[in-house]
C-alpha cells in the first residue's frame, strides 16, 4: 500500500464573489521511500496539494491518507499533533525564527515531544550533523548564508524523524551552488535515510534529482 493516498480530492476556494476550483477529483499515490518532484505552472495546485498532504488545509471533498491516518478528517488539535510527529515541512524562504539560534530553531519540533533536554540536544546535534552544520549551531539566521539557512530548515524538518518530508520550492531563493548542496542533501536523505520526499519546484534541474516527476496543470496530473 502507498504511504500517501489522495483519493478523489476536490478543493474549492472562495475568492471575493467567485468560487475557484483547484482540484476536481484528484487521485494519486506516493510510495514509501519515494522522492517526487511536483512541477507545473503557477496556479496549477502544487502548493495546495502540499498543504493538503501536510494537513495544513482540508479538501472540500475526498480523502488524504498518510501512513494509514486519514488526515482530512482529523480535528485541528489532533492534526497539529499528527503534523509534529509525521511531517517535516521546508519553505522556500526558510522561515527560521530570527531570534533563535540554528540549534534552537532545529529544536522547535522536539519541544512538542516528551523528550528530556539531553535527548533533545542529542537529536538536534545529529540533525545538524546530517546537514553539515554542526559548527554553526550557535549562529543566528542572520549569521548564516541562504544555503546554510535552508539546510538548517531541513534539519528542523528531519529532527523528529517524520514520515514525510514536504518541500515548497526549497531552492527557489538559493544560488546555483547552494541549490546543488541542498538537492544533494535531499537525495542523501532519500537514499541513505530512506525518507519519503515530495518537493514542489519550478526548476527542471532540481526536478531531475528526484526519482519521479509529476506535472500538474489546472489541478490535473499531466504526466
Amino acid at each position: 500500500m502507498s504511504l500517501v493516498q489522495v483519493r478523489d480530492v476536490h478543493k474549492n476556494f472562495q475568492r471575493d464573489s467567485q468560487q475557484v476550483s483547484v482540484f476536481e477529483g484528484l487521485t494519486l499515490d506516493f510510495e514509501e521511500r519515494s522522492f517526487t518532484a511536483l512541477m507545473g505552472p503557477s496556479g496549477s495546485g502544487k502548493s495546495t496539494l502540499l498543504n493538503l498532504l501536510a494537513g495544513l488545509d482540508r479538501p472540500s471533498s475526498g480523502t488524504v491518507t498518510v501512513a494509514g491516518s486519514e488526515v482530512s478528517s482529523m480535528s485541528p488539535g489532533k492534526l497539529a499533533a499528527w503534523r509534529a510527529r509525521h511531517i517535516g515541512f521546508v519553505f522556500q524562504s526558510y522561515n527560521l525564527l530570527p531570534v533563535l539560534t540554528a540549534f534552537q530553531n532545529v529544536e522547535l519540533p522536539l519541544l512538542l515531544a516528551p523528550l528530556s533536554k539531553k535527548d533533545r540536544a542529542e537529536r538536534v546535534k545529529i540533525a545538524l550533523g546530517v546537514v553539515g552544520l554542526e559548527d554553526r549551531m550557535d549562529h543566528y539566521p542572520r549569521q548564516l548564508s541562504g544555503g546554510q539557512e535552508q539546510r538548517t530548515a531541513i534539519a528542523r524538518a528531519i529532527v523528529s524523524d517524520p514520515t514525510l518530508i514536504l518541500l515548497d520550492e526549497p531552492t527557489g531563493q538559493l544560488d546555483k551552488k547552494s541549490a546543488q548542496e541542498v538537492l544533494g542533501l535531499l537525495q542523501r536523505l532519500n537514499a541513505e535515510f530512506k525518507k519519503t520526499i515530495v518537493m514542489v519546484t519550478h526548476d527542471a534541474h532540481a526536478a531531475e534529482r528526484a526519482l519521479q516527476v509529476l506535472h500538474l496543470d489546472k489541478g490535473e496530473l499531466t504526466a
Binding site: 502548493s47 498543504n51 501536510a54 495544513l56 488545509d57 485541528p76 488539535g77 497539529a80 499533533a81 499528527w82 503534523r83 509534529a84 510527529r85 511531517i87 515541512f89 519553505f91 522556500q92 524562504s93 522561515n95 525564527l97 530570527p98 531570534v99 533563535l100 534552537q104 522547535l108 519540533p109 519541544l111 512538542l112 528542523r156 515548497d168
Partner: protein, 380 residues
C-alpha cells in the same frame, strides 16, 4: 517550562520596546502603589484612634475655641473619667519650609490621655516643671538634628512673636501610624505670653466604656446647645477623619488617578502586544506548520504578556515598597507611617493579572485563530 526560552527569545526581539513597555508598567504600578498608600496611610491615621476617647470641638468650626469653663462641666458628665485640652499653635521654624504640628497641651492630663505617646518618666517630669519646656517627636528631632536641652525658637503666626522653647523630652509613638514629628509644649506658656486669655481649641474626653460614646456626645452637645460656644462631640476616629476630608475626597481622587494611570498603561501594553503579534503572523503560521497547537500558541502569547506585565509590576510595586521603607518618607509630616501595605501589593498584583490578561488576550486569540494557509501566503 520548555517554552520559556522561546518566550524570552521573543521578548528579546525588540529589546527597546520590551524595555519601555516593562518600564511603563513599572511606573504605572509605582504610581498606583504610591497613590493608594496615601489613602491607606490617611485611613490608618484614623484607625489608630482610641474607641474610648472623644473629642469636643466648637460646633461652628475647629478654628473657633471653647471656653476653659467647660472643662469642669465636661468632667462631670457621667461616663467621662478624664478631660484634657490642647490648642493649635501654628508656628514656623527656620525658613518655615518644613511643616510640623505644634500643640499647646496640658502637661498633667495630656500624656495620661495618650499613653501611645511614650516619654521617659524623667523627661516627662522635667517637662512638667518648666513652663517653656517642650517634648518633641523623635522623627522631628532626627530631621533637624536637635538634642535634649537645646533651645528652639518658633515664629508664631497665630500668636505673633518669637517663642523660645527648651527641649526637655523626646516622645516615641507606640504605633508607627502616629505622627512622630509633633512639637508639644505647655498650654500655660501660651496662656501666659498672650495678652488676652487663651481658650482651648478642643477637649479630649476619656470614657469609662466606649459603648457610652453616643450617650456622652448627646449629653455634652445638649449641655452647651444654647451657650455662646455650642459644641460638636464625636469619637476620636471621626475627629481624625474630619481632617482627612478637609483635603477633599482624597480617596476618590487618588483612586481615580491610579485607575487612569493603570488604564493608560493597559492601552500602551495592549498596543505593544498587538504590534508584536502582527509582526509575527508568519512565524505563528510556521510554528503551527511545525505542529504547535492553537492552544500552545495562545499560551505562548499570554506568557509573553504576563512576563512583561508581571516583571514591570514587580519592579514598580516592590520598588515603591523598598523606596518608601528605606527612605522613611512621610509626606513632609502629613503622612506619618507612610507605607506600602501588603494589601496594596496584593491589589497591585491583582490589577497586573487583569492587565496581563487584557493586553495579551486579543493577540493571543489572533494567534489561536490564525489560519495557517492564509498566513503562510504572507511569508512565502
Amino acid at each position: 517550562m520548555k517554552l520559556i526560552p522561546l518566550v524570552l527569545a521573543n521578548l528579546r526581539r525588540h529589546r527597546l520596546r520590551t524595555l519601555l513597555t516593562t518600564l511603563g508598567v513599572s511606573l504605572a504600578m509605582f504610581l498606583f502603589a504610591s497613590l493608594r498608600s496615601v489613602v491607606t496611610t490617611l485611613n490608618a491615621g484614623t484607625e489608630i484612634a482610641s474607641a474610648s476617647r472623644m473629642v469636643v470641638q466648637n460646633a461652628n468650626a475647629i478654628v473657633f475655641t471653647l471656653p476653659m469653663s467647660y472643662r469642669a462641666r465636661l468632667a462631670a458628665v457621667p461616663g467621662v473619667t478624664e478631660v484634657s485640652w490642647a490648642n493649635w499653635f501654628g508656628g514656623q521654624y527656620g525658613d518655615g519650609r518644613v511643616f510640623f504640628g505644634q500643640f499647646a497641651v496640658d502637661p498633667e492630663s495630656y500624656f495620661t490621655m495618650y499613653p501611645e505617646i511614650q516619654v521617659p518618666p524623667d523627661q516627662l517630669d522635667a517637662f512638667k516643671h518648666e513652663r517653656t519646656a517642650a517634648i518633641v517627636g523623635k522623627g522631628l528631632m532626627d530631621l533637624f538634628g536637635w538634642h535634649v536641652g537645646q533651645n528652639v525658637t518658633l515664629r508664631g503666626t497665630i500668636f505673633p512673636g518669637d517663642w523660645v522653647f527648651t527641649i526637655r523630652g523626646v516622645y516615641t509613638p507606640s504605633n508607627k501610624a502616629l505622627d512622630d514629628r509633633s512639637f508639644l509644649f505647655q498650654y500655660a506658656y501660651l496662656d501666659e505670653r498672650t495678652e488676652h486669655r487663651i481658650e482651648p481649641g478642643w477637649y479630649t474626653l476619656k470614657l469609662s466604656d466606649p459603648a457610652l460614646a453616643p450617650q456622652v456626645a448627646h449629653t455634652v452637645d445638649d449641655m452647651f446647645r444654647n451657650s455662646s460656644a455650642a459644641t460638636k462631640t464625636g469619637t476620636e476616629k471621626a475627629f481624625n477623619q474630619s481632617f482627612v476630608t478637609m483635603w477633599g475626597n482624597v480617596q476618590f481622587l487618588m483612586n481615580s488617578i491610579g485607575m487612569a494611570v493603570v488604564f493608560a498603561i493597559l492601552m500602551v501594553t495592549g498596543n505593544a502586544m498587538m504590534m508584536t503579534a502582527r509582526e509575527r503572523t508568519g512565524e505563528v503560521a510556521v510554528l503551527k506548520t511545525i505542529g504547535f497547537t492553537d492552544r500552545t500558541l495562545f499560551v505562548l502569547v499570554m506568557m509573553e504578556a504576563g512576563l512583561v506585565t508581571f516583571t514591570g509590576a514587580f519592579i514598580g510595586l516592590m520598588g515603591a515598597k523598598a523606596l518608601y521603607s528605606s527612605s522613611g518618607f512621610n509626606g513632609f509630616g502629613f503622612l506619618p507611617g507612610f507605607d506600602v501595605t501588603t494589601a496594596t501589593l496584593a491589589i497591585g498584583f491583582g490589577i497586573t493579572l487583569v492587565l496581563a490578561l487584557a493586553s495579551g488576550l486579543v493577540p493571543a486569540l489572533r494567534a489561536y485563530r490564525l489560519p495557517i494557509v492564509q498566513a503562510l501566503r504572507h511569508v512565502e
